[in-house]
């Protein structure tokens, strides 16, 4: 069956967003979008009310009937109803998990990766070697009250003692789930299969135990998928069943409800696979920042739980320190005044910057939140630890070891940003600058933002198992992602190497689709914007002496570049960015870069 229309919602903690996708002239396009406050909490306590309100807005905007009372009309008949309805959810705090592994940096990390990949928030990682005493672990479990626990440890056939010890700790804590006092806590066991009987004996009667394949059957290999699938199943069976109104919502959807970040992650994974590219995606929210990456075909997701732009904005300040926030501010400001302002944003999280000065400050903090989240991501997205490597004499001089970060900025093809501060920045140039300044892409990297944050809905759409609708849904997700979801900002070109003084770091000769030719010389410390749309531009890039633009030191590249709503951004500021210690010089440089990028054109009148 060729699907004609698809309705998808994302029930966030504060807003429920609905999109309507329609098949028009043989291609799937976003028709309209509606939103309404989420209604999980009192006084409503029924998520479907918010969904219906958001769908009602879609109805009004699209001028087509989608609801019959409290039901979504399906399938589409004439101009009424939709063929498919799907949803994601992060309402009520999302899926909150604890994971446990024998060795923190091995099975503990694998379990964390599985839980994060499934879209959960990992509240804590328990491990036999985490330095905490058993009673401390017990009080931690009791205090956190997760929705679910993933227990792993040991390779198949190895020693069972340590993982059973962890199970004994869980049993002694006798954990209760966050939702529903009368229910048993779901526990997934994904460890040494030899220990299954002992685990069943220890946890079988007091928890809702589920056994799945070992997450780390041998040291050299991770097997995350069975655990991730099990987490999704239990999310539907247990957590969602307890959340207000979800039973009804589940009866409406044509595919299981996915946790929002799980859906975003799977979409990014799919894009990277289909296009054979490396991707970094970021979603900066009010409370958390999620980062997704695919390097060397390996997917990783991290959640920086307390790095966000409103609820946890003060934590950004606490972790980044005031001086790192201030280095992005192109004017002088009283520090006491600034900290009070940031504090007030935390306690009144829904406010927006009215003055330009407030916007500049907010974007300065965003740079630090993104930078710190990416530091955490790089530390987590690593090769498997604990793996023995065979070394030859030629490796003896290399410092490589297990546990090295997979993230290589020179290899990065696409950097996608989403979340209020990036998607809704008044100027796209500001979004591009924030992405470049915080992620510091090297070589040639395409930049994009999610126009209205519809990656969750597209992610769940791309993951439908029902064979009758799976292929069409996936096609729709991909088409809408490319045509309506992504806003191509342009390409960042950043040569890397040691450059001092006013030297040339890159020379670019460009041939535009119109046939027009231009050449540019980028000097050390410069940031140059070439405005051009998202069209192929033939380019010859010659790095300066000792510099690398992607092919190695001093190596020229002939390639095709793409502009975008911002254009081509030549970043000659070097990696890492160095700020002048002289306050006036620092401010002068920031103002120069802003001016080049047309970032805050009216700021000159204010400072």
């Amino acid at each position: 069956m060729k699907l004609k229309s698809i309705l998808a919602t994302d029930c966030g903690s504060t807003t429920t967003k609905a999109i309507l996708i329609e098949l028009k002239d043989g291609e799937y396009r976003l028709a309209v979008r509606g939103e309404a406050p989420t209604t999980v909490e009192a006084p409503f306590e029924d998520v479907t009310k918010g969904v219906l309100n958001a769908v009602m807005e879609v109805e009004e905007l699209s001028n087509r009937k989608l609801l019959d009372g409290d039901n979504i009309i399906s399938p589409q008949v004439g101009n009424q109803g939709v063929d498919v309805y799907v949803s994601t959810s992060s309402a009520g705090g999302g899926l909150q998990m604890m994971v446990a592994g024998v060795v923190k940096s091995m099975s503990g990390e694998s379990a964390e990766r599985a839980a994060l990949g499934a879209g959960s928030i990992v509240m804590d990682v328990l491990a036999s070697n985490d330095g905490r005493k058993s009673h401390e672990k017990i009080s931690r479990i009791r205090q956190l009250r997760p929705d679910m626990i993933l227990l792993s440890g040991g390779i198949d056939g190895g020693t069972t003692k340590h993982v059973v010890e962890l199970a004994e700790i869980l049993a002694a804590a006798n954990p209760k789930p966050r939702l529903g006092l009368d229910f048993k806590l779901p526990v997934i066991y994904a460890g040494n299969k030899k220990a299954v009987k002992d685990i069943e004996k220890t946890l079988g009667s007091i928890t809702d135990l589920d056994i799945t394949e070992n997450i780390r059957p041998v040291l050299e290999r991770e097997n995350l998928k069975p655990s991730r699938d099990k987490i999704h199943d239990l999310f539907m069976e247990h957590v969602m069943q307890q959340a207000p109104g979800y039973k009804k919502l589940m009866s409406w959807t044509h595919a299981p409800i996915m946790p929002t970040p799980g859906a975003v992650g799977s979409l990014i994974e799919m894009i990277a696979r289909e296009e054979n590219i490396t991707v970094v995606g970021v979603d900066i929210g009010g409370a958390t920042t999620d980062i997704f990456s695919v390097f060397e075909k390996q997917f990783n997701r991290t959640v920086s739980a307390n790095l966000g732009m409103s609820y946890s904005i003060c934590n950004v300040l606490a972790e980044a320190k005031l001086k790192n926030v201030l280095r992005w501010v192109p004017f002088n400001i009283d520090e006491k005044e600034l900290t009070n302002r940031i504090g007030n944003k935390m306690i009144r999280p829904t406010t927006v910057p009215q003055s330009l000065e407030e916007l500049v400050l907010e974007q300065a903090i965003a740079r630090e939140a993104l930078r710190l989240s990416f530091v955490q991501h790089k530390a987590f997205a690593v090769n498997l630890k604990g793996v023995q490597k065979e070394r030859t004499i030629s490796d003896a001089f290399e410092q490589s070891s297990s546990g090295e970060s997979l993230v290589n900025m020179m290899d990065l093809d696409l950097l996608v940003g989403s979340g209020g501060v990036l998607s809704h920045a008044p100027r796209r140039e500001q979004s591009a600058r924030m992405l470049i300044d915080s992620f510091l892409p090297e070589g040639i990297t395409k930049l994009a933002v999610d126009s209205i944050f519809m990656m969750p809905q597209l992610g769940v759409l791309a993951n439908i198992d029902n064979k009758d609708i799976a292929e069409n849904s996936r096609q729709a997700a991909l088409e809408v992602f490319h045509k309506d979801c992504l806003i191509h900002l342009g390409t960042c070109l950043a040569p890397v190497g040691q450059a001092r003084g006013d030297v040339e770091v890159l020379r670019a000769e460009l041939i535009f689709p119109s046939g027009e030719k231009s050449s540019y010389i980028i000097k050390n410390g410069e940031l140059i914007l070439v405005k051009c749309p998202h069209e192929p531009i033939q380019a010859v890039l010659t790095p300066g002496k000792g510099m690398d633009i992607g092919a190695g030191k001093n190596e020229k590249i002939e390639t095709t570049l793409y502009g975008g709503v911002v254009g081509l951004i030549f970043d000659g500021r070097g990696r890492p960015l160095n700020f002048s210690k002289d306050e006036n010089e620092r401010i002068k440089n920031l103002q120069k870069w802003s001016k080049q990028m047309n970032e805050y054109p009216s700021l000159e009148g204010i400072i």
Binding site: S13, T14, P37, V40, E41, P43, A91, G92, G93, S134, H135, I138, S139, T160, K161, V164, E165, E168, A172, N174, L181, A195, D198, T202, A287, N306, Y311, S312, C314, N315, V316, L317, A318, E319, K336, E337, T339, N340, R341, I342, G343, N344, K345, M346, I347, R348, P349, T350, T351, V352, P353, Q354, S355, L356, E357, E358, L359, H424, P426, S602
Partner: protein, 375 residues
């Protein structure tokens, strides 16, 4: 008529306050529906499972884990005193025995022949929940808790630290603009809730802590001074668990901001009255704001109490407070709510409200307004 839903803080002179008092796990409710209770009355109690002690008997006796069951001197479920024999090896011809004693008073919870561990659970930890406010037990949630109801003055703050506290209200500043200074905090204020104007400095708050003042209600406090009080930088506004004798409630925010006149006047009206306050704040989904509850006597009731759950939007004439620069802290009345989006100085396109502040009309993003819900 145009209106807009905007989060607001409640400043109500008479309302029905219903407080849920719930145990963390199931237990026993100790009061009956319809009972009149004082704030300190215990309304529900339970026992939390005691702490666990893990004794690795296999290691202590130098035996295999599988032999631990045989070496045990007691069984799962037995009660043992500290120092009593937990397990013992057979020794050689009854000699050279090695034993292992129980480290605490407790019950044997489990004996593992896989890990060689014995878990001893200590005595349960009793938990009691009090009524917090003076009122009537309006509802009993079987095995979990109660709902206490009272007619009271109800004022929400924007941010607080410290948990529940109570005491008589004392107004220490003459106007809502004045700061609470160190010299205003005297030993007579021990156990009282003091109310001030625009700000309390670090030194004055520390003096209040030293003198065991029950609580401080004030317009503002400096964000960076919180670190010295809490011992860490407050990254997210989730508070209430701090071990502070003096709860602090800010009615306006960080910085020096005069207290809203309705809040100040209402607190002043009830100076000397007994109040229950809670500094606990949670600014996340499921928002919790700090609160001041002043239960009213019959003679104070005007009979026009308003339901606390009322959700109203702002409309022309509504009293609002601006909650972000450039007019932060100013109050005014809504003149108009234009439907179209408007570009701000920051170039952000937003829905705005036209507000009259001190005789001048200004455009403010609606999301930068807070409704002052009064009755």
């Amino acid at each position: 008529m145009a209106h807009s839903y905007t989060p607001g803080l409640k400043v109500l002179h008479e309302t029905i306050v219903r407080k849920e008092r719930r145990l963390p796990i199931k237990g026993e409710v100790t009061v009956k529906k319809g009972t009149l209770v004082e704030p300190e009355a215990v309304v529900a109690k339970t026992d939390l499972p005691g702490n666990c002690q893990f004794v690795n008997v296999a290691n202590r006796l130098n035996i295999d884990a599988i032999d631990v069951t045989e070496a045990m001197c007691c069984e799962a479920g037995n009660d043992l005193k500290k120092g009593e024999k937990l397990a013992e090896t057979k020794g050689l011809f009854g000699l050279f025995k090695t034993n292992c004693d129980c480290p605490v008073d407790g019950t044997i919870e489990s004996i593992s022949s896989v890990t060689g561990q014995v878990i001893v659970r200590e005595a349960p930890i009793p938990v009691k929940i009090d009524a917090y406010i003076k009122g009537l037990v309006a509802e009993v949630i079987p095995e979990e808790g109660v709902i206490i109801e009272t007619k009271a003055v109800f004022i929400q703050g924007i941010f607080g630290i410290g948990g529940e506290s109570r005491g008589n209200l004392v107004i220490v500043t003459s106007t809502r603009e004045d700061e609470i200074t160190e010299d205003m905090i005297t030993p007579e204020l021990k156990g009282k809730i003091i109310v001030g104007g625009s700000h309390i400095g670090l030194a004055a708050y520390k003096k209040a802590l030293r003198l065991n003042v029950a609580g401080v209600v004030v317009g503002g406090f400096n964000y960076f001074d919180l670190e010295e009080i809490l011992g860490f930088s407050l990254g997210v506004a989730i508070t209430g668990q701090e071990d502070l004798v003096t709860a602090l409630i800010l009615t306006e925010g960080y910085g020096k901001i005069r207290m809203g006149h309705r809040t100040f006047d209402l607190l002043k009206k009830y100076a000397g009255k007994f109040a229950s306050i809670n500094g606990a704040t949670q600014i996340r989904a499921g928002v919790i704001r700090p609160e001041i509850v002043i239960p009213l006597d019959k003679k104070d009731l005007m009979g026009d109490s308003k339901n606390i759950q009322t959700i109203e939007g702002i409309r022309a004439g509504s009293l609002v407070r601006v909650i972000r620069a450039p007019f932060f802290g100013r109050m005014g009345n809504v003149v108009k709510l234009p439907p179209e989006l408007m570009k701000m100085e920051s170039e952000t396109m937003v829905r705005v409200a036209e507000i009259e502040i001190d005789g001048k009309n200004v455009m403010i993003p609606r999301s930068n307004l807070e409704m002052v819900e009064t009755d």
